[in-house]
């Protein structure tokens, strides 16, 4: 984990409100593991002080990239920044996905919206190819299919309005594939919390392991403030753990979806 001022190499619109940001960060890039994130201080934001966490999409020798959606004050200002401008970054952060091993379980990756970006490095670094299931509301919410196809992964897209791929939720083709598949599989997921909760339930129903990248309101990103906690099992009891430090990726069996009374 390093804190550095990095230069924007590119910051271009992908589809609709999605942007691809490439940063020159030769010291950070080689350290990045799949599922980790970067905590970004958008320097021109003067009265919105906090850093914004972004999943890391791709990592090269001296650059890494982020695929983000313009959803608010921070990302709006970020989307107007140009190549050559600087950002302050703390990265790589968090506990990421377990990279599958050759000959082990077949990885099934499940992504909702820009959660797709967080799955790319995992697919790229996995010696074993699997299937990536991606869901979104509309066609424009289905991102980086090309990149997955280019590394030989099968992509199953679903949209809620049927404008691309199968019409419906991402869980439908996943369920069909789980019913069909004979060998051992493991699920890896990143997306909206209701989707993750559904994946957690499916993993339990089919008795397959699952790693979920959890999203909770983050503040410091490095484990000091205790803002981004989720309740997880700890022996017979439970405890709050930090999505920035113990997470964002958790074993689905450890996650408590409701706060114990």
């Amino acid at each position: 984990m390093l804190e550095q001022t990095v230069t924007i190499v590119a910051n271009e619109r992908d589809t609709d409100q999605y942007f691809r940001l490439v940063l020159r960060a030769p010291q950070i890039a080689p350290l990045i593991q799949p599922g980790q994130f970067a905590h970004v201080r958008i320097t021109p934001l003067k009265d919105a002080l906090l850093r914004r966490p972004f999943s890391i999409f791709q990592a090269g020798d001296d650059t890494f990239s982020i695929l983000y959606k313009n959803v608010g004050k921070g990302t709006d200002v970020l989307s107007r920044m140009a190549a050559g401008e600087e950002l302050s970054v703390i990265a790589p952060l968090g506990h990421g996905f377990t990279v599958p091993t050759a000959g082990g379980e077949t990885p099934f990756l499940i992504a909702g919206g820009y959660g797709m970006a967080a799955m790319f490095l995992l697919a790229q670094r996995s010696p074993q190819k699997g299937i990536v299931f991606v869901g979104g509301r509309r066609r424009v919410d289905i991102l980086c299919e090309k990149e997955f196809a280019a590394i030989g992964w099968e992509v199953r897209a679903t949209t809620e309005d049927g404008s691309h791929g199968e019409k419906g939720l991402v869980t439908h083709p996943l369920l069909a594939e789980l019913k069909r598949s004979a060998g051992p599989v493991k699920l890896f997921a990143c997306g909206p919390t209701p989707m993750l909760k559904a994946i957690g339930k499916i993993a339990a129903d089919f008795n397959v392991p699952a790693e979920l990248s959890m999203d909770e309101h983050m503040c410091c990103g490095v484990g000091t403030c205790l803002a981004c906690v989720i309740p997880v099992r700890a022996g017979d009891a439970w405890e709050y753990q930090r999505t920035c430090t113990e997470g964002p990726v958790f074993d689905a069996r450890q996650i408590l979806w409701e706060l114990p009374k």
Partner: protein, 304 residues
């Protein structure tokens, strides 16, 4: 050039520490800054037993600040000593441990336990957290209760005691005086300000706790005034805090009457802030020909 200051028996190599709750237990930021450059490390509040903390969301960003309602999640005294003290005890700079309880007896017991631990720099009595149901702020707003807490801790330990004052009082002077008279070696002024924010799309509070504490640059001018008022009421030194982002902010607190300062919320977005403040303070002193940082304390000129 002298930057060192004394708060009771606590010696700091420079007047810059961190605000409790914004720096974890030290180790988290040790990967990003050299903690031995600080005046002291102040850790998150500890009570006797572990505390789960509040439901989420626990923080919300607001203009020039943030709200938090963490609820003093913590490992308890034993958990802290086991998990975090081995690292903190290797530091060359003192550790200030922020402590709290729900009764006077609990404060005293926690103080006794840390007294027995050995090697602690000072204890900061948290009588001003706005985010817990019992304990915390109730002790910080009633001079009689405050005096009881401070006196009980004074009995329990010879460690320097810093009383962290609530901003949520009509007049800070009688409370500051009560803490001083009961044996506090220093005051920390101030804590977060009770506040709230609403998501207008959902009509829901932005914090699960509904209300929280406002911190960051938004509170700085209010905190400056509280430091000034407290400093006029007592002779003991004050650690000033509230929205410090730069050396200029820190110097303002010193001039208002603080002997030391704490960087709080800024740690969350710029972990280098403390080091930048120390460097900037040196530059200011060099530029103004100030040989001793203590000359700055209370040096502002209220008259014409």
């Amino acid at each position: 050039m002298n930057l060192s200051v004394k708060l009771g028996q606590l010696v700091m190599q420079n007047p810059v520490t961190v605000a409790s709750g914004t720096f974890g237990y030290g180790a988290e930021y040790a990967r990003l800054i050299d903690l031995n450059q600080l005046g002291a490390v102040t850790v998150k509040g500890i009570r006797l037993n572990p505390v789960p903390g509040n439901p989420t969301p626990r923080t919300a960003e607001v203009t020039s600040g943030m709200l938090n309602a963490i609820g003093l999640q913590g490992p308890g005294v034993d958990g802290f000593i086991k998990k975090y003290w081995p690292f903190l005890s290797t530091l060359k700079v003192p550790t200030i441990i922020n402590i709290w309880g729900t009764t006077v007896e609990e404060y005293a017991e926690v103080a006794r336990r840390f007294d027995a631990l050995g090697g602690v720099g000072a204890l900061e009595l948290n009588v001003s957290c706005p985010n817990i149901k019992e304990g915390g702020a109730q002790f910080g707003t009633d001079p009689k209760l405050l005096a009881q807490v401070v006196a009980a801790c004074r009995q329990a330990t010879t460690l320097p005691l810093i009383t962290k004052m609530s901003p949520n009082v009509p007049n800070i002077a009688p409370l500051a005086k009560a803490a001083e008279d009961a044996g506090s070696d220093a005051l920390a002024v101030t804590n977060s300000f009770p506040a709230m924010a609403i998501d207008i799309e959902t009509r829901r509070p932005k914090l699960a706790n509904i209300t929280g504490g406002l911190t960051g640059p938004a509170i700085k001018p209010i905190a400056i005034k509280l430091v000034w008022e407290a400093s006029k009421a007592v002779k003991i030194p004050i650690i000033g805090m509230g929205g410090i982002q730069t050396a200029a902010d820190a110097i303002e607190f010193l001039m208002a009457g603080a002997t030391a300062v704490a960087v709080g919320t800024a740690n969350f977005y710029e972990p280098q802030t403390t080091l930048q403040v120390i460097a900037g303070l040196r530059d200011f002193m060099a530029r103004k020909n100030i040989a001793d940082v203590r000359e700055l304390t209370g040096s502002f000129q209220p008259g014409k």
